[in-house]
Symmetry: C2
Subunit: 339 residues, 2 copies
């Protein structure tokens, strides 16, 4: 099948650009130095390529991602880098321990109690290194680890995600602030012990020489938000749309806000000759963009819509079409959606 025969909106992954991104990251952070985050793609077929590139340990954000990875025989070492209290889902994770290594983040007595009651075996202490989200205070990490060990859980170490520093474009300031976060995480680690010090993301992957692993995910497919940082990763994913209507000064394609993560603002639109178009707005099933007096764009033509945020964009699609050039070479289920 030809890419232009795909029904639209069609989420497309460029296999060669994806390969470039995976190889570039694996060269920088080989093997277990990278724990790829599957929340950025929610696709076991893509995760299998990351494993083939040498990364056997993965990061997840939801129980369903964990269970799905285990079911896909990608469960060598799965970290749920998130807090969960639901007993049914924790029981599913405990069940998955039969054929997968399951570790879950904890940051409170309640999350420890829930994990222990469900029969989970291994945890990581989640530390707040500066992002106001989950994680205990660094000075409290030893107490949390003791609580967990007291409930019979093995404590593998610490994690601390400096998400607030991903998009800092002053390189020197970013480096200094990441180092301060790492200091907090290492201070917590000194209180906790264990083999794992896990941190980082695509925006800071190159700044982590003092942790044992980096949790990057967006590097594989990328988006316009991360593209601004000048990282060595290429845009490998976009949504193909069909122009369904044209008027004087604008055109409309069938890629709307139900096909794009919108929390980082509008996506970019390119005509197939690579020209960027000025995006006016998105509706549920439409993107309206400007055309010029000399446009040759016609109803039926295709456009590329480039996500501003890859993670929620993946969550809106059932399948990804894998292409090499103009040829569709595979169809991957986005099989880790939901919770």
């Amino acid at each position: 099948m030809h890419v232009h025969d795909l029904p639209t909106p069609a989420l497309v992954i460029d296999r060669d650009l994806l390969g470039h991104n995976l190889a570039t990251m694996s060269a920088a952070l080989p093997g277990t130095a990278l724990r790829p985050h599957v929340k950025a793609h929610k696709c076991t077929s893509l995760a299998a390529l990351q494993r083939a590139a040498g990364h056997a340990a993965f990061t997840c954000a939801t129980p369903r991602e964990m269970v799905g990875m285990a079911a896909a025989a990608l469960g060598d070492d799965l970290l749920l880098a998130n807090e969960v209290l639901d007993p049914t889902r924790l029981a599913a994770l405990a069940e998955a321990q039969q054929n997968a290594r399951i570790t879950i983040a904890v940051d409170s007595a309640e999350t420890i109690e829930a994990a222990a009651r469900a029969g989970l075996q291994e945890v990581l202490v989640d530390v707040n290194v500066g992002l106001p989200r989950c994680g205990c205070a660094p000075a409290d990490a030893g107490r949390i680890a003791d609580l967990a060990r007291g409930r019979g859980l093995a404590v593998r170490g610490v994690m601390g995600y400096e998400g607030h520093l991903m998009m800092v474009d002053d390189r020197e300031r970013q480096r200094a602030e990441v180092q301060a976060c790492v200091e907090r995480l290492l201070a917590a680690h000194a209180l906790v012990g264990g083999d794992v010090v896990s941190a980082g993301g695509t925006g800071t992957y190159h700044l982590h020489d003092r942790v044992t692993e980096v949790q990057a995910g967006s590097y594989a497919l990328m988006d316009t938000h991360y593209a601004r940082l000048g990282l060595p990763f290429q845009q490998a994913c976009f949504v193909i749309g069909t122009v369904i209507s044209t008027s004087a000064g604008f055109a409309v394609a069938d890629v709307g806000l139900k096909a794009m993560g919108m929390d980082h603002g509008n996506p970019a639109v390119q005509t197939l000759d690579g020209q960027p178009a000025d995006v006016w707005f998105l509706s549920d099933e439409h993107v309206t963009f400007a055309t010029t007096d000399d446009t040759t764009l016609r109803v039926g033509d295709r456009v590329r819509v480039v996500p501003a945020h890859i993670d929620p964009t993946m969550a809106l699609h059932e399948v990804a079409w894998v292409v090499r050039g103009e040829e569709v070479v595979d169809r991957w289920a986005i099989d880790l959606r939901g919770w």
Copy 2:
């Protein structure tokens, strides 16, 4: 089951408030005066209630919504208020004509040709009444209708959605601008003929005494965006989250931007005693919100997250839990997702 036993994030519909909204709209626009738009809920179970309230004709935005409504025996009169060129999906719509009445919007020679080739029988001329999206110029509507009839299609009339006027909060200005749109649509209708003049939405449903039907959808479940207009509809849908982490000054619940449509900005967060919380930001699977010194909120407590935009929020969930008070009384599949 009790609402607080639901696994979170849980999309919840309050059955009584939904009933209030349906009854309020049916009183204002009874029977075929309303053609409910299913894009706002993507749920055949909810559409069945709208039909039971007297509305046998529906509006859809995607072929899958059309085919799903026909399969659910809700196909008395389905309008695809959108342009489609894909021959496979148009063939599925033509197939659905065997047990449903199928009408599709057209606004160009290309969309007419695609509909005719697929074997569709009935169309509506989509007219641009002021929103820069699909639709032909009003003065061009007669030519479009002639083209369609020349290809053997029955032309049922015109539609023109004044989406740019939904959120105008100056009531007099809104009324005047809607009337101007209706004038354009009626001018087009004079050139086209047919029995149908279709327009409007939840924000303008009360301003349409000169069209034959209104295409409102959001009124059934509502969102914080529409709530600002002071319409007589109640918020009937929210997402229940669990507090998974607390720190000094803030707390985190497990309702992230993969569970909420984000194009209208952040959702609202309420604790279960009805107190609003100041939302700081959403991540993929988290909402961080402010707490006060005297908060009693603890890990494991539940919060309500109210969508800023209902349509894309529905597209992110597989199921809706229907509640009366604290009791879960039904589970509805969000079965019209995708394209």
